[in-house]
């Protein structure tokens, strides 16, 4: 029996992958899972600063101050340092729970993210003064870096909007678009792509609230665009999204909402998993356990 196949980690990864990219065959899931495990593991030597470069097609220093958006593509903690190393000044918004859980790592990162003697500031998403702090950063020609995906489910105020994502929908926090609308600042969606063994950070999409549309419309359009661009990356390299592993825990996707397809039960959908005192069978299409 293949040990990798008989784990909750694989079973849930595979369920999520099937729900969002149903065209991928079940047989291919184990290959993508192993790629994903290797890519995101601390042993992956590819994910290191010397292998990362900012695209030379972008005038990084000419961009008006705005919101830099990154996704959890495994390299997400390296890019802040790379941006700082290249002299691009920014502050970073995060959930307080994230700071509390990763204080040592984030303190070390903050030390490394210094541009012209000015350290990157961390802002908390629940800070009532957040909008004013971001406004002050932009005024000083500093960008503000925000991660669009992955969203911790820990915050007390957790308003979300639903966006199309591949074959499903994700519940995402709309803060990026709301801030952009209120402060009339651009959003720069950044995605890294791999050329041979080098990761290149590129500007994929710019949103700018310069048309007379309502806040609600702008927020929806913008979040939809951000995730449409991200979905295109996922279609090509699904193993790069760290969130496949914990999508059911961060509030972006609730498997309870899956449309049950009881008539389409096929043996290949099931993964045999260990439970307390024996084995059970997990239905990867319907997120149900039989024991």
């Amino acid at each position: 029996m293949n040990n990798t196949l008989n784990t909750w980690g694989f079973a849930l990864f595979s369920s999520h992958l099937h729900h969002f990219i149903p065209d991928i065959s079940w047989e291919q899931h184990i290959v993508i899972f192993q790629e994903w495990e290797h890519y995101h593991s601390p042993k992956n030597k590819l994910l290191a600063l010397p292998n990362m470069h900012l695209s030379n097609k972008i005038d990084w220093y000419g961009l008006p101050a705005g919101i830099l958006v990154l996704f959890h593509l495994g390299d997400h903690l390296f890019w802040p340092q790379k941006l700082a190393d290249e002299g691009i000044a920014f502050d970073l918004v995060m959930d307080r729970a994230v700071w509390e859980k990763n204080t040592a790592v984030l303190t070390a990162l903050q030390r490394k993210c210094t541009v012209n003697g000015a350290k990157c500031c961390y802002f908390f998403s629940d800070d009532p003064m957040l909008i004013f702090k971001i406004k002050a950063s932009l005024k000083q020609h500093r960008h503000v870096l925000i991660f669009a995906d992955g969203t911790s489910a820990a915050s007390a105020v957790d308003k979300r909007v639903e966006v199309d994502f591949l074959a499903g929908k994700l519940a995402v926090k709309p803060g990026i678009a709301v801030i952009s609308y209120l402060l009339k600042c651009p959003i720069y969606a950044l995605h890294s792509h791999m050329i041979e063994d080098v990761l290149i950070l590129d500007l994929m999409h710019i949103s700018l609230p310069n048309t007379p549309i309502s806040r609600e419309s702008y927020v929806m359009q913008t979040m939809q665009s951000l995730f449409a661009g991200f979905a295109a990356v996922m279609q090509q390299q699904p193993y790069r999204w760290e969130c496949w592993g914990y999508l059911h825990r961060n509030g972006m996707w609730n498997p309870k909402n899956v449309n049950l397809s009881e008539d389409e039960k096929i043996l290949v959908h099931f993964v045999k998993l260990p439970i307390q005192d024996g084995w059970a069978y997990f239905d990867r299409v319907n997120y149900m356990l039989y024991h």
């Binding site: 980690g9 995101h40 601390p42 495994g74 592993g245 914990y246 099931f270 997120y287 024991h291």
Partner: protein, 45 residues
């Protein structure tokens, strides 16, 4: 929780088993955290 002594070879055999839906299942998983892995980067947000 007791699993019946059965090796599934046909989905019709599922009919005789107890079914646990996602709400209950996710509560069980969050206690065990069996689905976690060590990541290169800590989870942000």
């Amino acid at each position: 929780m007791k699993l019946k002594n059965i090796e599934i070879r046909d989905v019709r055999q599922m009919n005789g088993l107890t079914r646990m839906e996602w709400t209950e299942l996710s509560a069980m998983l969050s206690k065990d955290k069996d689905d976690e892995m060590e990541l290169k980067c800590p989870i942000l947000f």
